[in-house]
Each structure stands twice: as C-alpha cells, then as structure tokens.
C-alpha cells in the first residue's frame, strides 16, 4: 500500500526495499541526461585504469535513487531535504538494495524523517542518507 497522507505513516516503519537499476546501460542513460559523462562512470576498463574496482555509479545517481524510493512509497511526498554520505563506491553492474526506515513524524506539520541506506549483497553500506519529507495532513 502506498502512503497518501502523514496519518498512513507509522514511526519505525520500514519502507519497501528498492533495488535500483545499476546496469551499465542505465548509468549511461543517466550520465547523458545529467550531463555527467565520463569514462569512470561508463567504461569498466577505463575506471580500472584509474585504480577503481570498476565503473562507478555517480553519487548524484545514488542520491536520485533515494528520492525515487521515497516517491514510490509515498507518491504525494514532497521531499524538502535529502542528505547523502558516500561511504564507499557503488559499482556499475553490481546489485544494491535500498532500505529505509521512518525515524520521526510530526503529524501536525505533515513532516516525516527517513533514514536510508544503500547496501550491496554482502550487506555493506555504501551510501547513507536522510530525508525530510512533507505529506498531506489529511485525505482529500
């Protein structure tokens, strides 16, 4: 069930897990759209020559994944702040999972705070994020 108003949200609630598309084709699509072209994002061999483990998912793309996850969970959400900390590289063509949990609710203001983590298949956190989200205070 998607969230429509702040009253649909429970403190401590887990958001549905979101598995972002980190395939090379999708990362190339992103870099073209965002104007962040560069071989370290779009070419595994070129990235390895720079000493990286493989092509990198741009940090701004990981940030975009976090927003998409929130919008899928709560379509009327208006994200007012999102902060991301890059702890380790997110590598193209590897599997990642984004988890989120509600850490604060102000029902009167319609504001919810969410902690978000991007982890790999080993359970290692690569990106940590927090977001403040405004939701309608009552159904329309």
């Amino acid at each position: 069930m998607t969230v429509q108003t702040v009253r649909d949200v429970e403190f401590g609630e887990d958001l549905p897990v979101f598995d972002p598309d980190t395939t090379l084709d999708n990362v190339i699509r992103f870099t073209e759209a965002a104007g962040w072209r560069g071989p370290r994002f779009t070419d595994h061999e070129a990235a390895r020559k720079e000493g990286l483990p493989g092509a990198l998912v741009p940090g701004i793309m990981s940030q975009g994944f976090l927003c998409a996850m929130i919008h899928r969970w709560a379509p009327p959400a208006r994200i007012v702040e999102v902060d991301t900390i890059f702890r380790a590289p997110v590598i193209v063509d590897q599997a990642y999972h984004i988890n989120g949990v509600v850490t604060d609710i102000d029902e009167d203001a319609g504001r919810v705070e969410v902690d978000l983590t991007v982890t790999n298949d080993k359970g290692e956190t690569r990106v940590f994020g927090t977001a403040k989200v405004d939701l309608p205070t009552a159904g329309t």
Partner: protein
C-alpha cells in the same frame, strides 16, 4: 608543513561567491534523469504532465564548472566527494535558470587517522523570476597529511 589555519580559511572564504551561470533546463533530459533514477510518476517522467518537474536531487547534477574558488589554497591531501545534500524550496521546471555558487562552510573532524578538512560548496538555483528553487551542497573531505609526511 604546518597544519592549515582553518579559522583563517573560514574568515577569508566563507560566503565568497565564485561562480554564476545561466542555462536552460531541457524537459526531455529532466525526464530521462528521472526514469534512470527509477521514478515512475508522470510528474517526473512525462514532460506533458501539467505539473511536470524534476526530482529535487536533479539540482545536484547542475553543480558543474569550478569546484573551488580561484586562488583557493592548495589542500594538503587528496580530496574526495564525501556527500551531497539538497534543500528543495520550489519545483524545478524546464526553462531558463541561474545558479550562484559560494563557499558555504569549512570545518574539521579529528579521528584516529588524523585531521579531516571538510569543504562545503553550495550552489543556489533560481528561476528567471528570481525564485530560489533549491540549494545543492557538495562536501569534499581532505585527509590532512601529518607534518613531515611526503606528498
């Protein structure tokens, strides 16, 4: 080499604007950005949607050009992108925009491996009516080399 004087850096550089850009946001590129991130709602993916807008983190992709002010002191270590933050005030829609970038904060944290210097650069995004749409921050972290360590 002696450690950088952070208070002097703060006094000299915080608030200094070092870049201003005018550019046009293209609806098709905004929609592609949204789809690649996994957005599914029409207001982010369909330029024909009456409320079409970019996801707020699109502002981070607009931080281009010079990363630090001209003549900013050479940092004593390798800089890494430590994180990004966005504050969204109003929808980002296609059309002409202006960005202004300034040095927003300089601070340190000290851990077992020594002192880390954080530089926060903020880009403020405006539409052609002057409405402040968003702030996009980039945090760069530099691990300061201990005195005497070779570069």
């Amino acid at each position: 080499m002696s450690a950088l004087d952070i208070e002097a850096l703060r006094d000299q550089w915080i608030g200094v604007q070092f870049e201003e850009r005018a550019f046009e946001l293209d609806a098709a590129a905004m929609a592609e950005y949204a789809k690649a991130c996994g957005e599914v709602a029409g207001l982010y993916t369909d330029p024909e949607d009456p409320d079409f807008q970019a996801p707020p983190t699109f502002a981070s992709s607009l931080q281009r050009g010079r990363g630090l002010p001209e003549n900013f002191p050479q940092m004593p270590g390798l800089g890494m992108d430590a994180g990004k933050a966005v504050e969204a005030f109003a929808p980002i829609r296609p059309g002409p925009k202006t960005s202004r970038t300034h040095m927003h904060d300089i601070y340190t944290k000290t851990g077992r491996s020594g002192r880390m210097i954080f530089l926060v650069v903020r880009m403020a995004l405006y539409d052609d009516a002057g409405t402040h749409l968003a702030n996009a921050d980039t945090r760069v972290v530099i691990r300061e080399k201990p005195t005497g360590e070779e570069a």
